[in-house]
């Protein structure tokens, strides 16, 4: 008998049928992949399993017994744990406080046994092989470290059923490996796991079986050994997606420099020099925390720097704010869509049009809703946002679709330079290839793109040139045949002799050594 089974689960939200008659069963000691396009209903199904949503119909069985989880607390008590797709950490609390939130060990007086919590957290981290100060506040952590805290939090439950909703999205390959090691260990202990990811190779590396959802409906369940990526993708999207990367073309001339930036970050000794040619895709590769996002923010004037000299098509420009950058035609698609990208109470249309409203003025300064609506709907179609309407509130969309809304915002803005920070994080295979194609179209129009990604295939498959970041600095520039995963990793993990301003850097170096 399966440890966990979901039978005939259906769920509708106002205007959306998220799930219809979906079933799933997971054995003890099995890693079960859940696959589907953005908005297919994966997260919704898992939230039902964890008592966060109540199903309209259907049953949850654990060890064959029907369960009614009216809250996540109940689900936890029954041995179900989850790593949420969206972060559920409290930024102002320390790491230990977050891990044990709601389950603090207390003494006879009801006071928290803080030391015990710290010891347990340290033990947990040791087991996971992660290196995070348990007393640091979570908002000081990088996205990846936050993800590990999430994982540690779920593991600390000692759950029998563990759901991992896109846990690898913010992780680099080494960290993914570390996570997989942990998962294998749990599998051997008999934990039943549901693993959601948009990375096919991960499915094949770690999973035993795979269930595919399409548009809220159950499609099939297969043994991973009996299938291949192409077939799975076809099941997911209902058509074949052959080559997700567009054809490689001859790189644009590297001497037609659009953007020339010399930036020295606050507290660093060296100045980095970044040159971006017209119509090229320039990759920023590096480990998590290597400073790529910081550099991106600095390039649009959103991050304090010690020194910044920028030339745009030869003309010196001073960018004091993202608005200056926008006026000069430089746009950023930030890495954290909820905090930095979306205006959650807004509709899809309003989110998309927000930075080019002046286009819909007729007569100025009045905005024509009709023109705005027409334009945004076209854009939504172009990136294939799955939403009931352009007036749907963006917060109710699935994670991937939210990301597409942020991308759509920049397509018609008429920028010369676009910086995409992890643009495909959480996006399904089909949509990914569309976004790649879109990027190529943009470059064909003469737009230059900076592409920050922690997915090496994306970097190698797409970029004309690659800058490798290490310890906050550019340590290598690769072009043409040099752009290989192995080369990038070598540079990204190389022990470099820079002045380390803080102890944190020493630790990061130690981690990297460990990784290489």
């Amino acid at each position: 008998m399966a440890l966990l089974s979901l039978e005939g689960v259906s769920k509708s939200f106002p205007g959306v049928r998220a799930l219809h008659d979906v079933s799933l069963s997971v054995e003890a000691g099995e890693i079960h992949a859940l696959l589907g396009e953005n908005g297919a209903g994966k997260s919704t199904l898992m939230k039902i399993l964890c008592g966060i949503h109540q199903p309209d119909s259907g049953e949850i069985l654990i060890d064959g017994h029907a369960q009614h989880f009216s809250s996540y607390r109940r689900a936890c008590a029954a041995g179900v744990g989850i790593v949420f797709q969206e972060f559920s950490l409290i930024p102002g609390l320390s790491v230990v406080d977050n891990i044990f939130l709601g389950r603090e060990p207390r003494n006879a007086l009801g006071l928290i046994r803080h030391g015990e919590m710290v010891d347990k957290a340290c033990a947990l981290f040791e087991r996971l092989g992660i290196d995070i100060d348990p007393l640091i506040h979570v908002h000081h952590l990088s996205v990846a470290d936050q993800q590990f805290v999430e994982i540690a939090k779920a593991l600390s439950l000692n759950a029998r059923v563990l759901v991992l909703d896109e846990p690898t999205a913010p992780l680099t390959p080494t960290e993914v490996e570390r996570l997989f090691a942990i998962m294998r260990q749990l599998r051997d202990q008999g934990v039943a796991m549901v693993f959601i990811s948009h990375h096919m190779e991960e499915i094949f590396e770690i999973c035993d079986r795979v269930t595919v959802l399409r548009d809220g409906e159950y499609v099939t369940t297969l043994n991973v050994a009996d299938t291949d990526a192409g077939a799975l993708v076809e099941q997911m999207v209902g058509r074949r997606v052959d080559n997700i990367f567009p054809e490689r073309q001859t790189p644009p001339p590297a001497d037609d420099i659009v953007l020339d930036a010399r930036i020295r970050m606050a507290g660093r000794k060296h100045t980095d020099h970044i040159q971006l040619a017209r119509g090229e895709i320039l990759g920023f590769a590096g480990l998590v925390g290597s400073g790529r996002s910081e550099m991106a923010l600095a390039m649009i004037g959103a991050h304090p720097v010690a020194e910044r000299h920028m030339r745009l098509e030869g003309e010196a420009v001073t960018l004091k704010s993202p608005a200056d950058a926008l006026r000069r035609g430089i746009g950023l698609l930030p890495e954290n869509r909820k905090q930095q990208g979306l205006i959650l109470p807004f509709t899809c249309a309003d989110n998309i049009s927000i930075n080019h409203l002046e286009r819909f003025q007729s007569p100025a300064p009045f905005i024509s809703r009709r023109r705005e609506q027409a334009a945004t709907e076209t854009l939504m179609d172009r990136v294939r946002v799955k939403a009931p309407g352009s007036d749907t509130v963006v917060g109710t969309l699935s994670g991937g679709n939210q990301q597409k809304v942020v991308i759509a915002r920049w397509l018609e803005r008429g920028c010369r330079v676009l910086i995409f920070d992890e643009p495909t994080r959480g996006i399904d295979v089909g949509a990914k290839s569309e976004i790649y194609a879109l990027m190529k179209t943009l470059t064909a129009q003469g737009i230059s793109i900076v592409m920050i990604s922690s997915e090496l295939p994306e970097i190698t498959g797409l970029c004309d040139r690659v800058l490798v970041f290490n310890h906050g600095h550019v340590v290598a520039t690769l072009a043409g045949d040099e752009i290989k995963a192995s080369t990038i990793m070598t540079h990204a993990t190389r022990q470099i002799s820079l002045d380390h301003p803080t102890g944190a850097t020493d630790d990061a170096a130690a981690t990297m050594e460990h990784a290489s």
Binding site: R214, G238, P322, A323, G331, I343, N355, E358, M380
Partner: protein, 329 residues
């Protein structure tokens, strides 16, 4: 809502369903406030014989006009996720300055313009502290509330200023097409605010800043500049209210407007706005302000004892918010 539409063609481009008129109405932020307003209105009309007299209704609107006008600026501040506690004293200060200038022999138009500019300047100062110095609005405006109050009292020495030219009475006591001037001024202010909020880019930015300031900034909107504008507008509407009240009383009252900030906030929140920003409607604020006005008027008409009025008013506000809750949570 239509669920069938959302499951239609999976592979072709997603459909774009528009909501029906009725659904739009129910989901409009003005719906629940309006419901509460109508309920209270009906009760008041049933309990008081005099309530529905045209004369009384224009009374109500006129009495609500001051808070109504102030609440416009407050709405802008709250929609951006901020707040402006300084509105009452800024109103009083602008009004007394206008009165002082006129009493000192300046022509009313000049005095009024100076008064309005002063309100804007004060608002701009609030805005600069919030936007550029990145200080929390609640404490900035709490501090400037004391500053404005003190300046007003210093200017007048605690005396109200009277002896204003007769023509100035127009703003408080005049009529335009048979409608009383304060009501006309209020409606004009709302009209402008409505157009600005719903038909200009600035209006969109106001909501965007309230919805997610960081995202708005990163997408290339000059957030500080627009926040500055928001608080300047709040100063301006406070000054307009100062104009109306000064003209109505025909004297500059340095201590007018005590506690008005709380009434204005109540109007905005009763109007369905989220106090955290990003959501709300200016017409809801108008409904909220009028709801407060009919409460005051109706309870007075019923001759409810003054002490009991506070209790009843509080209870009705709770009830009104309870009915429209969830939208504000």
């Amino acid at each position: 809502m239509n669920t069938s539409a959302s499951t239609s063609d999976v592979n072709s481009k997603p459909r774009r369903q528009r909501r029906s008129r009725w659904s739009r109405l129910v989901h409009s932020p003005v719906f629940f406030p309006l419901l509460g307003f109508i309920a209270v209105f009906i009760v008041m009309a049933l309990v008081n014989d005099n309530f529905l007299l045209p004369n009384n209704l224009s009374n109500v609107a006129r009495q609500g006009a001051i808070i109504g006008i102030i609440a416009v600026g407050m709405s802008f501040a709250i929609f951006t996720g901020g707040i402006d506690l300084s509105v009452g004293p800024v109103m009083a200060l602008s009004g007394t300055i206008m009165a002082g200038l006129m009493a000192g022999g300046w022509p009313p138009t000049v005095a009024v313009i100076v008064g309005l500019l002063l309100g804007m300047a004060f608002g701009a100062f609030n805005g600069a502290c919030v936007a550029f110095a990145r200080m929390p609005p609640i404490i900035v405006t709490l501090a400037t509330m004391g500053i404005a109050r003190g300046l007003g009292l210093i200017y007048t020495g605690g005396y109200p200023i009277s002896g204003l030219p007769a023509g100035f009475a127009f703003f408080g006591r005049g009529e335009v097409l048979g409608i009383q001037a304060p009501i006309v001024i209020m409606l004009l202010v709302y009209l402008v605010a409505y157009v600005v909020l719903h038909h200009t880019a600035f209006g969109r930015y106001v909501y965007a800043i309230g919805g997610n300031e960081e995202a708005t900034r990163l997408t290339g909107i000059r957030v500080p500049r627009f926040k500055l504008m928001v608080y300047t507008i709040s100063g301006l509407t406070a000054a307009i209210a100062g104009l109306v009240i000064t003209s109505r009383l025909m004297s500059g009252q340095p201590n007018a407007g005590t506690g008005f900030e709380l009434d204005a906030i109540a109007a905005v929140v009763l109007g369905g706005a989220a106090i955290a920003g990003g959501r709300g409607a200016i017409l809801g604020t108008l409904v909220g302000a009028m709801l407060l006005a009919i409460l005051n008027n109706g309870l007075n008409l019923m001759g409810v004892s003054p002490y009991l009025q506070d209790v009843v008013k509080g209870g009705i506000i709770l009830l009104a918010i309870y009915i429209g809750r969830g939208r504000n949570a």
